[in-house]
C-alpha cells in the first residue's frame, strides 16, 4: 500500500481495473464513484489528495452513469423533477467548493467528510436493519 506501481502500461491497466470496480459501485448505489476513486487512486497509485480529487473530477465529466441510468429509468426508478431541481445547485456549489479547496487544508476537510460519510452509512445500514 502506498508504494507506486510500475510505470506505463501496467499502471494504466491497474487504474482501469480500479475504475471498473468503482463503476460497479456506481451502478449498484447510484453514485458517481468518486467517493471510492479518490481514496483508491491515493492508496494504490500514490496520487496526492488534490491530484486524486482533480483526476476524479475528470472521470465524472463524461456521462459515465448513462448505461446505468437507462437501466434504472426502464424500471421507473428516476424522479426527473427532483433531479432537474438539484442539478443547478450542485453545479454552482461545485465551483464554490473548488475555490474553497484551494484555501482549506485538505487534511482537516477530509476528517470532517469521513465523519459525515461514516455517520450516513451507519444510519442507512441501521434503518434498513430496523425497517
Amino acid at each position: 500500500m502506498g508504494v507506486s506501481m510500475a510505470e506505463g502500461i501496467e499502471r494504466d491497466a491497474g487504474i482501469f481495473l480500479v475504475a471498473c470496480i468503482c463503476g460497479v459501485a456506481s451502478g449498484m448505489f447510484g453514485i458517481g464513484g468518486g467517493v471510492l476513486l479518490v481514496p483508491l487512486l491515493g492508496l494504490f497509485f500514490s496520487f496526492s489528495q488534490h491530484r486524486a480529487q482533480g483526476t476524479s473530477l475528470v472521470a465524472l465529466i463524461p456521462p459515465t452513469g448513462l448505461l446505468a441510468l437507462l437501466a434504472y429509468a426502464r424500471q421507473g426508478f428516476v424522479s426527473w423533477r427532483t433531479g432537474f431541481l438539484l442539478i443547478p445547485g450542485v453545479f454552482l456549489g461545485g465551483i464554490l467548493g473548488g475555490m474553497l479547496a484551494e484555501r482549506v487544508k485538505p487534511h482537516r476537510m477530509r476528517q470532517i467528510f469521513v465523519g459525515i460519510l461514516f455517520a450516513l452509512g451507519a444510519w442507512q445500514a441501521l434503518s434498513a436493519w430496523r425497517r
Partner: protein, 134 residues
C-alpha cells in the same frame, strides 16, 4: 419544498468541489431522509443528476492548479462506464431494504478507506519533515 431541494443541491455541490466526488454518495441519503424517497428511486435520480458535467466548474479550479492527471481520468471514466452497467444489473432486482443496508455498508467502507489514506499521507508528511530538519 422546491426551495429545500434547491438548497440541498447547493450544499452537495460544495462537497463536490471540495472533495472531488460526484456527490452521489451524499445525494442518495439526502433524498432518502430529507425528501423521503425510496432507495431505488433515490439512486436512479442520483444517476440522472450525474449525467450533465456538474463537476466542470470544480474541475476548472483544479486544472488551474495543475492538479489533474488527464490520462488517468479518461481511463477511470471508461472503467466506470462499463462497471456501472454491471452494478445496476445487480442492484435493480434487489429488495429496496437490502439495497439500503448494502449502501450503508459501502459508505462506511469508503469512509474507512478515505481515513486510511489521510493517515498514510500525514505519515509521509511527517517523515519528509523529519528528513528536512534532521
Amino acid at each position: 419544498m422546491t426551495l429545500i431541494v434547491l438548497l440541498l443541491g447547493l450544499g452537495v455541490g460544495v462537497l463536490v468541489g471540495l472533495l472531488g466526488i460526484g456527490g452521489g454518495a451524499v445525494l442518495v441519503p439526502a433524498m432518502v431522509y430529507v425528501l423521503g424517497m425510496d432507495q431505488h428511486l433515490s439512486q436512479g435520480t442520483s444517476l440522472f443528476i450525474l449525467i450533465p458535467p456538474i463537476g466542470l466548474g470544480a474541475l476548472r479550479e483544479y486544472w488551474k492548479q495543475g492538479q489533474v492527471d488527464l490520462k488517468a481520468g479518461i481511463l477511470c471514466a471508461l472503467g466506470i462506464l462499463f462497471g456501472a452497467l454491471g452494478g445496476s444489473l445487480v442492484a435493480l432486482p434487489l429488495p429496496s431494504r437490502m439495497l439500503q443496508g448494502l449502501f450503508g455498508c459501502f459508505l462506511m467502507v469508503s469512509a474507512v478507506l478515505l481515513w486510511r489514506k489521510g493517515q498514510l499521507e500525514s505519515q509521509t508528511q511527517v517523515a519528509n519533515d523529519g528528513r528536512v530538519h534532521g
